[in-house]
Structures are given as structure tokens and as C-alpha cells.
């Protein structure tokens, strides 16, 4: 079998555009899932059961069903009544999915901050909410970095699933090129390498962040 990478080179700008769309989605989803996950965790731990119950249900729902199904549901299922642009559906779907996973991490790390920290803050005169904001959450966040990093690497790879609903990210971008060039092997190996590179950089970032925060743990 002979390899021919010329179509890959021809369509490389299209692939790069796909990387751009995927990265944009990933950045928004990362922000949404981390901030949202933190809120969900804080509410479900500190606010009374009646408020936190729907949130627990939401976490349970997104963690026990496949991402692809969630995307299909939001895009085609809800599409019967309201057609949301694919990229928004992708951001919302991925965002909620990883928000649930991140919330799970934050719940564990918030609970891992010792009661002595809470008492020390309260004894200085900080209120309950201020203690959560200034003392508990920052410490929990630092402890969450390794697992958040792992989740975000998974999330970046999962942006490829958005091709199923037509978001023009990297995998989707390659599909047209493959259909005209008949060179799936070459395209997919190059795309795999691109994901690999992105993840290497993310892992380096994660290692750097962990090292930078180690002395604050």
C-alpha cells in the first residue's frame, strides 16, 4: 500500500480551521464547566436539600448517559420544537456533561478541606459565606487541579464527538476532504497526531500549574 499525503497538505488549512473551531468550543466549555461545576458543588454542599436535590439529579443524569446521546437529544430531539445552532448545542452539551464531572471533583475537594480551616476563619470574624469564598473554595480549587486537568484533556478529545451534529471541528473538517480524496488513513493519522500535540501541550500546562500551586496546598 502506498501513502499519499498530498491531499492532507492541500486541505491542511481546512483542518487548521477545524482546530480553531474545536479550540474555541473547548475554551468556552472549560470555562463553563469549571465555573458551573464549582457553583453546583457549593450549592449542593452548603444550600439546603430542597435546592440541591435538582442539582444532584442533574449531575446524575449527565453522568449516567452517553455524551453522544445527550448531543442528539439536544440537537435533534429538542430540534423538533426549537432549532439551536449546532455549535451552541455542542457547547451546551459538552459544557453540562463536564460540568457534572467537575462538580463531582469539587464536591470531594471541598469536603477534604479540614474543619479547622473553617473554624479558624470563623474565629477571625468571617461569616459562613465569606469563609466558603475566601478560605474553603480557593483551597479546594488548588486541590482539584490535577483531576480538572485530566477532565479537560478528556473534554478536548470529546470535541470530536460534536462532528456527529455537524460542528465544524477537526474531525468534521476532515470528513469532506476524505470524501473527495479517498485517503482516510492519511487524514486520520495526521488528525491523531494533531490531537496528540494539543494534549501534550495541555499536559505540560497541567504539570506547570500543579508545580506552581504545590506550595499552596
Amino acid at each position: 500500500m502506498e501513502f499519499d499525503f498530498t491531499p492532507v497538505i492541500t486541505y491542511f488549512p481546512t483542518l487548521l480551521k477545524g482546530v480553531g473551531v474545536g479550540s474555541l468550543v473547548a475554551v468556552i466549555v472549560a470555562f463553563m464547566s469549571i465555573v458551573g461545576g464549582l457553583l453546583v458543588a457549593v450549592i449542593s454542599i452548603y444550600i439546603n436539600k430542597i435546592v440541591s436535590w435538582p442539582l444532584r439529579f442533574f449531575i446524575w443524569l449527565f453522568m449516567t448517559t452517553p455524551l453522544l446521546l445527550q448531543l442528539y437529544f439536544l440537537y435533534f430531539g429538542l430540534g423538533e420544537w426549537i432549532l439551536i445552532p449546532a455549535i451552541f448545542v455542542g457547547i451546551l452539551g459538552l459544557g453540562f456533561h463536564y460540568m457534572a464531572y467537575n462538580a463531582d471533583i469539587f464536591v470531594a475537594t471541598i469536603k477534604s478541606v479540614s474543619n479547622g480551616q473553617y473554624e479558624a476563619s470563623r474565629s477571625l470574624g468571617f461569616g459562613h459565606a465569606a469563609t466558603i469564598f475566601y478560605i474553603i473554595v480557593p483551597q479546594a480549587f488548588i486541590r482539584s487541579i490535577p483531576q480538572l486537568g485530566n477532565n479537560m484533556i478528556l473534554m478536548v478529545k470529546d470535541t470530536s464527538v460534536l462532528s456527529a451534529i455537524g460542528v465544524a471541528e477537526l474531525v468534521y473538517a476532515s470528513q469532506y476532504a476524505i470524501s473527495v480524496s479517498f485517503r482516510p488513513f492519511e487524514f486520520f493519522i495526521v488528525i491523531a497526531a494533531m490531537y496528540y500535540l494539543i494534549n501534550i501541550f495541555m499536559e505540560l500546562g497541567q504539570v506547570w500549574l500543579e508545580r506552581e500551586t504545590a506550595y499552596r496546598r
Binding site: 479547622g116 473554624e119 479558624a120 477571625l124 470574624g125 468571617f126 480557593p138 483551597q139
Partner: protein
């Protein structure tokens, strides 16, 4: 200033305080008054209720019965609910510095930020002035060079000195010490004792729960021995540590001084 009169002003009043954990009554009607500028030490075996009593003063334990007053203001207010009580207790606690056995420094903040966080956020002190105050306090505990170091890089003794500085930053009327040196290696106890000694010389009102018999004897104006949730004996420290009346006190001191 009329210091003589001030000296007899009660700063901490503990009146008939009861506290139970489930079926176990750990405080069985405790009374104690600490006057302005005085230092009272509480000693006793583990489980005697001495830490619970001290924590009750800061409302970290909620008492079941009795009253606790700080400078004439009632700390426990069973009549207040929710946010109203929170505002009340936050205000009270700003006048009370608490030092814990395990330091409880905030690991995500530098030494200086540990000290200045409360004045900046609670008293709205400008950062520059807060830093000056923080440096002054660090100087006082001999750790000015450690201002921008994080707590995990400090020794136990240094951590506790920072914790004392942090408590002092709110300019409290009283300081509460909950076995402040119990978690320290023996060679680090002295540096913390020195800081507490210097506070004593500045006439800080202090309530100290401790296992350091020698320190308690030297620094206190009054000493109290607790066991089983009751005050067994209280008197001037010279007498309590050398010639106590009660047999339980004698037994405790014998065991403690021999070990």
C-alpha cells in the same frame, strides 16, 4: 487612665455553663471570670472539658445552658436566629483572638496574607496599611523575613507564631489559646511561649488551655484545674502547682510532672 478600676473589669465571664455531646455531659456548670489584663490558665486531663470550655467562649461549641459574656456583651444568644445571630457572633469574634493546637493557617495564602486577610476584608483596611500592620506583627513574633513565604514552608513553631500574629491583627480584647504548644516538637515550644510571655507583659487578657505546667505557673494570674467537666480546684498558680488542696489535682500533677 484609671487603671486600677479597669483591672477589676471582667473581660470574660463564664456563668454556669453546661454542654453535652449526646448523652455525655462534658461541662457540668462551669463558672469563671477573667478580668481585664489578667491571664488565666486551665489545666486538666484529656477529656476534662477544658478545650470544650475554651471553644465555647468563641462559640465554636454551642453551649446548652448558662451564659458567656465578653466585655459585658453576651456571646451566646439563643434568642437570635440565622443571619441576625451570624452578624452578632462575627462582630463578637472580631474582638477575640483564637489560637488553635494545629495552627490552622490558611495554606493557600502567604504568611503576610494570612495575617492581613481579616483586617482587609472585615475592617476594609487599605492593602498598604494592612501590610504595614502585618509586618509590624511579624516583627513582633520574630518572623519579618518570612512575610512572603507560604505556611507549608514554616516549622511548627513558626506556624504557631504566625497564627498568633493573625489573631492579633484584628486587635482583639482577649486571646484564647487552645493547647497552642501541644502539637509542637519540644524544642519549638519555647519560641511560642516567648511570644505568649510578651503578650502577657503587654497586659493582654488571656485564657489559656495548656499542658505546659511550668509555663502556666510562671505566666498566669490564676489557675484552674478541671476534671470530668467540673472545676476541681482554682487558685493562684503558685499554690495550685506546688500545694493543691484536692487529691485529684495532686494525682494529676504528680503524673504530669513525672512523665
Amino acid at each position: 487612665m484609671n487603671t486600677e478600676r479597669n483591672k477589676d473589669e471582667p473581660m470574660i465571664e463564664i456563668r454556669d455553663v453546661h454542654k453535652s455531646f449526646g448523652d455525655l455531659e462534658v461541662l457540668k456548670g462551669i463558672n469563671l471570670t477573667v478580668n481585664r489584663g489578667k491571664i488565666v490558665s486551665i489545666i486538666g486531663p484529656s477529656g476534662s472539658g477544658k478545650s470544650t470550655l475554651l471553644r465555647s467562649v468563641n462559640h465554636l461549641e454551642v453551649i446548652d445552658q448558662g451564659n458567656i459574656l465578653l466585655d459585658g456583651v453576651q456571646v451566646n444568644r439563643p434568642d437570635m436566629k440565622g443571619l441576625q445571630f451570624e452578624r452578632h457572633i462575627n462582630h463578637i469574634r472580631q474582638n477575640m483572638g483564637m489560637v488553635f493546637q494545629h495552627f490552622n493557617l490558611f495554606p493557600h495564602l502567604s504568611t503576610i496574607d494570612n495575617i492581613t486577610l481579616a483586617p482587609r476584608k472585615l475592617k476594609k483596611m487599605p492593602p498598604k496599611i494592612a501590610r504595614e500592620l502585618g509586618m509590624e506583627l511579624l516583627n513582633r513574633v520574630g518572623l519579618a523575613s518570612k512575610a512572603d513565604v507560604f505556611p507549608n514552608w514554616l516549622s511548627g513553631g513558626q506556624k504557631q507564631r504566625v497564627a498568633i500574629a493573625r489573631a492579633l491583627a484584628m486587635e482583639p480584647k482577649v486571646m484564647l489559646f487552645d493547647e497552642a504548644t501541644s502539637a509542637l516538637d519540644p524544642e519549638l515550644v519555647e519560641e511560642v511561649n516567648q511570644v505568649m510571655q510578651s503578650l502577657a507583659e503587654e497586659q493582654m487578657t488571656m485564657l489559656i488551655v495548656t499542658h505546659e505546667m511550668g509555663f502556666a505557673r510562671d505566666v498566669s494570674d490564676w489557675a484552674m484545674f478541671m476534671d470530668g467537666g467540673v472545676v476541681v480546684e482554682e487558685c493562684a498558680p503558685q499554690k495550685l502547682f506546688s500545694n493543691p488542696d484536692q487529691e485529684r489535682t495532686q494525682n494529676f500533677l504528680r503524673k504530669h510532672l513525672n512523665s
